[in-house]
């Protein structure tokens, strides 16, 4: 579904510095596949998501989605960020409806689906609450509902559980897998937690920093549905050691 072909990205910061964010990155993501991107800070993970969404242009190579070269934003994408960024003046239901409104669709026709999504994510009964009355985890669920409502075939998630506490984080990971099980989508998920990357993914893309390069793409052959208990299986540990080794080996090479 997504293909990155020798993608290169350099941008200028506000102070005029040139940042080489991504260098020669190539990989594919299949239809309905769950791919996680893991790497240290500054490896261009977030930039990569923006390139796929068409929010910023590549400086070399090409990103194609379903065979078409990405040259700008396209509506078949849902975005979830590290922070929920809900609109504080809107109720939970109206926050979920925000995505279809911005797409220029009639929000009244999506009220029922929005309610169903809230039910699915355990937020049934919270429709009329306001974001400030919700915990961080619940706010992030609302953000996920917002992204899912227009039923995009591609979901881009930028460290969506990064700001949550460890327990909520585990709970949300399993919940995301359950939602993904009910509504299959292609998911590209950025994280800097190695266990999270393995637990969720069909394949893990390991990246190294400055500039962001692809170290390896690992296939996770743990059976689904996944559980937290799998973390103690030797295969899980092997994968996590491998990822750690790839990331830290790259670090040691530099002075």
């Amino acid at each position: 579904m997504i293909r990155l072909d020798h993608v290169d990205k350099t941008y200028r910061t506000r102070h005029g510095e040139r940042v080489h964010a991504l260098a020669d990155v190539s990989f594919d993501v299949g239809e309905n596949e769950f791919v996680t991107l893991v790497g240290p800070s500054g490896c261009g993970k977030s930039t990569l998501l923006k390139l796929v969404a068409g929010l910023t242009p590549v400086t070399g190579g090409a990103v194609t989605v379903r065979g078409a070269v990405v040259s700008g934003p396209f509506p078949d994408v849902g975005f979830v960020f590290q922070h929920p960024v809900l609109l504080p003046w809107r109720s939970v239901l109206d926050n979920v409806l925000f995505s279809v409104e911005m797409l220029g669709l009639d929000p009244r026709q999506y009220r029922k689906q929005a309610g169903d999504l809230l039910e699915l994510t355990g937020l049934g009964g919270f429709e009329t609450k306001y974001p400030r009355e919700l915990s961080g985890g619940m706010q992030q669920r609302v953000a996920i509902c917002r992204a899912l409502l227009p039923d995009p075939s591609l979901l881009l998630m930028d460290e969506p559980f990064g700001a949550l506490d460890a327990l909520t984080r585990e709970e949300m990971s399993l919940e995301l897998l359950r939602i993904w099980d009910e509504r299959r989508k292609t998911i590209l998920f950025v994280t800097h937690s190695i266990p999270e990357a393995i637990l969720l993914a069909d394949r893990v893309v390991v990246m190294t920093a400055r500039p962001g390069r692809l170290a390896r793409v690992l296939t996770v052959d743990l059976p689904r549905p996944r559980t937290m208990a799998q973390e103690f299986e030797p295969r899980f540990k092997q994968a996590s050691d491998e990822i750690r080794r790839l990331i830290f080996a790259a670090r040691r090479e530099r002075p």
């Binding site: 068409g54 975005f79 960024v85 911005m102 400030r132």
Partner: protein, 259 residues
């Protein structure tokens, strides 16, 4: 619940009220005890009595100053908010307008008021212009800050849904900036009162500023004091009105658990 809130409000009000009453009593007693002449420092009771005798005159003068203040405030919002939008959305306009706005702010308004009155002439309009000049700066700066503070993720989100710039502005950026707009408006409304009075000082035959000026030239200090009290009350009421509109338009700003 309401009773408890009432009791708490009464408790919070008790200390400042007592302080104020205490200060007035000391003032009254001291001016009487030391036989301070009324034209230097009138007693609070004389200020009130004098104010009451002139109440119908004060009604017209208060109305004039209120009119000028509200005119200046309205103008500062009508000009300040669009100016802030222009500055945030266009870097060309920002580099063109920002120096001018800062320059306009740095010129002392009291210094240009006589020139303005000379150019525009008499009546209420020049006072409205002075009030506007004093008040518009915080509106521009605060609104611009608010508009620039939109979380970048929300802008990315809007862009990824290919929403138009107008939709993004109306549904995301403007409501996001509202608390900042109100912060600017609260400063602007009190500055407008000052601006109107400055305008009246320079040349007028009506308004509370005019009353202060002419009362002091006739040694009627208690009249000047009454006028000052009315000006402060006006500023407080107007500030309260802006705060009320803020609470009605941005109910989400109320701290959790208050409703």
């Amino acid at each position: 619940m309401i009773a408890r809130l009432g009791r708490r409000a009464a408790g919070e009000l008790a200390v400042p009220t007592l302080t104020l009453v205490g200060a007035l009593v000391v003032w009254e007693a001291a001016t009487r005890a030391f036989h301070v002449p009324s034209f230097i420092m009138p007693t609070p009771s004389r200020i009130l009595a004098e104010g009451w005798t002139w109440r119908y005159h004060f009604l017209t003068h208060t109305w004039v100053t209120l009119y000028e203040t509200l005119g200046g405030f309205a103008l500062s919002m009508l000009v300040g908010v669009p100016l802030a939008v222009a500055i945030v959305y266009s870097s060309a306009l920002r580099s063109a307008l920002y120096p001018l706005i800062v320059l306009a702010q740095s010129v002392p308004k009291i210094a240009i008021a006589p020139v303005l009155l000379l150019v525009i002439g008499h009546g209420e309009f020049p006072k409205i212009v002075v009030a506007f000049l004093v008040a518009f700066f915080p509106v521009v700066v605060d609104t611009a800050t608010g508009l620039a503070a939109t979380p970048p993720e929300l802008l990315d989100l809007s862009r990824s849904y290919r929403a138009s710039a107008l939709t993004t502005f109306l549904k995301v950026r403007l409501p996001m900036a509202l608390p900042f707009v109100f912060a600017g408006a609260k400063v602007a409304i009190t500055l407008s009162v000052i601006g109107a009075v400055v305008g009246e000082f320079v040349g007028s035959d009506e308004g509370l500023g005019y009353v202060i000026l002419s009362a002091t030239s006739y040694w009627k200090t208690e009249l000047a004091f009454s006028s000052m009290i009315l000006l402060s009350l006006m500023a407080i009421v107007l500030f309260g009105a802006v705060s009320l509109v803020e609470r009605l338009t941005c109910p989400w700003l109320a701290p959790a658990g208050e409703e």
